[in-house]
Amino acid sequence: MVLQTLNSLGPQHGYAIAARLGQVSGGALQLNMGTLYPALMRLEQRGLLRGNWAITDNNRRARFYALTAAGRRELAKERQAWDRMAAIIHALLRGEI
């Protein structure tokens, strides 16, 4: 989800990612800082993201996270896996098998 957010919005800081996730989920997904930042760090450690300090639109310092090439590949892979999974579940629940 984090990867998808960054993919659609471009480089973003942590708060923006959380806000976006909250927004698209209609408020169902409220990420706590203790969950979000360790997750970002893990993705960074895995080389899927790169974080850098930069200045926001209203002149504040923030750490911006951007997808790396590996991250984009991973996202594509995840998406494919999900599509396949969803198709199977869909077929199952509709009794089409």
């Binding site: 800081h13 706590n32 930042y37 360790p38 893990r42 450690q45 895995r46 750490r63």
Partner: protein, 922 residues
């Protein structure tokens, strides 16, 4: 792959090369501020908004904790702290730490020593190039009685050459056969034991010379020799110019290794081998290339080949049976059928170490049992200490430590203990290896080296203290720390914080005392198994050394004379007689004698057939008993302390008397003459086709165990060696055959009044003054030789006894610990009982009962396990069955007494409890 990368990054994080706390915190604060700024739409004040954001987003410090855990590897980061803490706790209880570390050092040291010995012998490749592909080719032959395992026979040199030409599975092969020779040295003569080898031998083994070359160029000069390091030192005093020097080789008699005697040859030394080199068959003094003339019968050789790369032993085995059956005549039609193929291809290494694999496994098992007992003991100590630490651990839980944290902390303490134990253990292990080397080295000079070897263990020369050992010690220490730490760690981590804080640190926990009792019982049982095993080996060793050998080795000095090449026979016999005369006149000498082949040399002959009165030659030839012939001089039987049962031994007068006389052993007397006295009776000696020679029996002696004491005595007939020589001359035997049969190894035995070793110098002086050119081989007190002949059983008995002793002591300490601890915990209860009028005796019985129950359970379990386990010792026992009731009984009673003592001490302490003090202690 991503996950691997994450771990690497986290490792970097641990090492401090990642984002700092400040950086992380700034990011979180930024997040919080943004959240608070957006909030005022719903909240009145900024403070309210900030508070709501904090509630929604969680606290900065909690997020920081989670981030820090994600950044690095927390357990790794905490390790230095855990280790520091472990050191502090251990320093706080020095007696506990000392006992635990010493116990561990003992266990780890013993295991390290034995493991490194086993590793050297069984696991390390032989010290030759591509040694894992070296194989030995032999022919299996059915055992004589057809029932036993098949025996093995080597191929001949001619067959070896044929084999080498035909084989496709072996890249190459070399041949070895033993030979002996006498050489002239700067101070007389020396007998050397060496090998004929095919010229490619050293090249195939990848051996490099210390000096000169190892390449035999047989075509240009076959008279060349390569010396072993020892021989080089002995004959040339390590002079570098030994290469190029010459030695005159002359076989002075045929030690049955080659079918015919070789003529004397002048040999040029071309090279010297490094000190560590030892052919995997026997330690040799020298190596010469095969020179087999067409007129000679081809000698038997050990055929060793190297498998072609990628070739399996099975393929080589199939091929060996094709080649072997093609070049060797078929087996006789009446030969017993065998379940194995006729020709066998054995791995050289397996073949070298096979005889000892069983014994080494026993040692490994024993040392593993010691290590387990050590672990159980330390675990017990930790549990006992854990009870007093319960409050501390409760406190840790109360302030937020997780179970994982506590387990980790305790395991770290164990690791620190084990590593300290390991460090000491490595030293103990080095001592142990030195002890093993000392115990296994066999004191067998000269000729005896062939039979006894230089070590109880094959490859004993490779055993030694090395750096690998320290690696092994620490590996064992690490494994050990888990073994003894896991139980206390799990147990302590189940502490409930409130309960622990509330308790006064004195309450008993039932589950725990049950675990500790079980550990003590396990220790006792294992120690009992070891003690029974050691008991059996010791019992067997005592039997071996006290068995009636038929001779008395105390105060006997033995040596072999070596004559220089080309001495005529008469000069040899004159010299023998002159030496005997001088020895008998030497102060402090009771008697001195000469024989063809002395005790423990392991060589004897049978010649012709002795026929008692009233029986026929055919009758006796069908008899499976064939007495050995032992030519001796007068005084020999007395010198070695053989008991004369009837009649007398040889006297000087017999040499020239016309009647030929013999002394027979008890078995021969009983078989040929029954209960009647054989003295004065005559045996007819049929040799060859000539007329029989009447031999009058002048004495009967006790049966002698001429070889190692575990071998049954042979029936023997003793002759006067000079009578035998004159007989042989009458028969027209060649000089060589006369020497072979009558004087052979030229063995002397001297019985002294005092210490025989102190006479050695004077004896050597006498030999030199009689004939300055004669040499002496293997001068050694007979008692030391006899000790060498049982070096193997002694090694196993001593080693197992040490292990069993340590195990027994630790187990007793274990029982003591459990009981002593129980008494401390029950102090209040005992105090109340005594206050209510219990007698001291009742209290004593009460505590003792618990201990005895523990001890009895352990010992009974141990005896049962031992009964199942001692079967593996069968081949190592002599005169004792694996279920020997005496050993089992003695060990259980003795160990039971020790356990009782271990129980008695704490029980007595219980009786000294002062009721008032006990009650007030709460």
């Amino acid at each position: 792959m991503h996950v691997l990368r994450e771990w690497l990054q986290r490792l970097r994080g641990t090492l401090g090369r990642s984002r700092q706390d400040q950086d992380l915190e700034e990011e979180l604060r930024f997040h919080q501020e943004l959240a608070a700024e957006e909030a005022p739409r719903q909240h009145q004040t900024p403070q309210d908004a900030a508070r709501a954001a904090r509630i929604r987003l969680g606290g900065v410090s909690q997020a920081m904790d989670a981030l820090r855990d994600q950044r690095g590897l927390p357990w790794l980061a905490d390790l230095p702290r855990d280790v520091r803490y472990a050191f502090r706790t251990l320093r706080k209880s020095p007696s506990f730490a000392t006992v635990a570390i010493l116990t561990l050092a003992l266990g780890i040291g013993a295991t390290t020593a034995i493991y490194s010995v086993v590793d050297t012998i069984l696991l390390r490749p032989l010290p030759f190039a591509d040694s894992d592909r070296l194989v030995r080719v032999v022919e299996n032959v059915a055992s004589p009685d057809g029932a036993g395992p098949p025996g093995q026979r080597d191929v001949t040199y001619q067959e070896f050459l044929e084999w080498r030409a035909r084989t496709r599975t072996l890249a190459d092969a070399f041949a070895v056969s033993m030979r002996e020779t006498v050489v002239r040295t700067h101070d007389g003569a020396a007998r050397l034991w060496g090998a004929n080898v095919s010229p490619n031998t050293f090249m195939m083994l990848g051996t490099r010379p210390l000096l000169g070359t190892l390449a035999f160029s047989v075509d240009t000069d076959p008279n060349v020799v390569v010396l072993s390091f020892d021989t080089w030192q002995r004959l040339f005093h390590s002079a570098r110019d030994a290469v190029g020097a010459t030695l005159e080789f002359r076989a002075d008699f045929n030690a049955s290794f080659t079918p015919e005697l070789e003529p004397p040859r002048l040999m040029t030394v071309i090279g010297v081998l490094p000190a560590a080199f030892e052919l995997p068959i026997d330690p040799m003094d020298f190596y010469t290339p095969f020179v087999v003339s067409a007129s000679q019968r081809s000698p038997h050789v050990t055929l060793i080949g190297r498998l072609r790369e990628g070739m399996s032993r099975t393929a080589a085995l199939d091929e060996a049976n094709v080649i072997g059956n093609a070049i060797r005549p078929p087996r006789p039609a009446n030969a017993a059928a065998m379940s194995v193929p006729r020709f066998d291809v054995q791995s050289l290494k397996e073949q070298t170490v096979a005889p000892l694999q069983g014994a080494l496994r026993v040692l490994l098992a024993a040392v593993a049992a010691v290590l387990l007992i050590v672990c159980a003991n330390v675990a017990n100590l930790l549990l006992a200490r854990g009870t007093t630490r319960r409050r501390e651990i409760g406190l840790r839980f109360a302030i937020g430590a997780s179970r994982g944290h506590v387990v980790r902390q305790i395991l770290t303490e164990c690791l620190v203990l084990a590593l300290a134990g390991g460090m000491l253990g490595a030293l103990v292990g080095a001592g142990g290896v030195t002890l093993v080397k000392h115990l296994t080295s066999v004191d067998a000079p000269g000729i005896f080296r062939l039979g006894f070897g230089t070590s109880v263990l094959p490859r004993g020369n490779e055993v030694g203290v090395d750096l690998r050992m320290f690696g092994i010690a620490f590996a064992i220490a690490a494994i050990t720390s888990l073994a003894f730490g896991v139980l206390p760690a799990i147990h302590l981590s189940q502490t409930r914080s409130l309960q622990a804080l509330g308790s006064r640190g004195g309450g008993t926990v039932r589950g725990e005392s049950r675990i500790r009792a079980a550990l003590a019982v396990a220790q006792l049982a294992m120690a009992t198994v070891l003690l029974v095993g050691a008991g059996l080996l010791i019992h067997s060793f005592v039997k071996l050394t006290t068995i009636e050998r038929g001779y008395d080795p105390a105060n006997v000095l033995a040596f072999q004379l070596v004559f220089p090449p080309n001495y005529p026979l008469t000069r040899k016999t004159d010299t023998i007689e002159a030496i005997l005369a001088r020895l008998r006149a030497m102060p402090g000498v009771e008697s001195a004698g000469f024989t063809r082949a002395g005790l423990l040399i392991g060589e004897a002959i049978t010649v012709g057939t002795f026929v008692p009165p009233g029986r026929t030659v055919d009758d006796i030839r069908a008899d499976p008993m064939r007495p050995l012939i032992r030519p001796v001089s007068p005084g020999y039987l007395t010198a070695v302390g053989v008991r004369v049962l009837d009649g007398r031994e040889f006297e000087a007068i017999d040499a020239t008397a016309s009647m030929r006389v013999i002394v027979i052993s008890r078995t021969v007397a009983r078989r040929y003459f029954g209960a009647a006295s054989p003295v004065g009776q005559v045996l007819d000696w049929h040799v060859g086709n000539g007329p029989a020679t009447p031999m009058r029996v002048i004495g009967v002696i006790e049966d002698v165990r001429n070889e190692t004491p575990d071998q049954e005595p042979n029936p023997e007939i003793f002759l006067h060696y000079r009578q035998l020589l004159s007989l042989q001359q009458r028969w027209g035997d060649s000089t060589q055959r006369q020497e072979q049969m009558s004087i052979g190894f030229l063995s002397f035995a001297i019985r002294t009044r005092g210490n025989p070793a102190s006479a050695a110098h004077r004896v050597a002086g006498i030999v030199r003054s009689v004939d300055a050119n004669a040499g002496i081989d293997a001068m050694i007190p007979m008692a030391r030789l006899v000790a060498s002949s049982v070096a193997g059983p002694r090694f196993y008995a001593v080693l197992l006894a040490v292990f069993a002793g340590v195990a027994g002591m630790l187990a007793a300490i274990g029982v003591y610990g459990v009981l002593a601890y129980a008494v401390i915990q029950r102090t209040r209860e005992i105090g109340i009982r005594m206050a209510l009028g219990a007698q001291r005796a009742q209290v004593l019985v009460n505590v003792l009962r618990d201990g005895i129950l523990l001890a009895a359970t352990g010992i009974v379990l141990g005896v049962a396990a031992a009964a199942a386990a001692t079967r593996v010792l069968r081949t190592m026992l002599f005169g004792v069955t694996p279920l020997d009731p005496l050993t089992f009984g003695a060990v259980s009673v003795a160990f039971g007494c020790v356990a009782m003592l271990a129980c008695y001490v704490p029980a007595r302490r219980a009786t000294r409890v002062d009721p008032m003090v006990a009650l007030r202690s709460e």
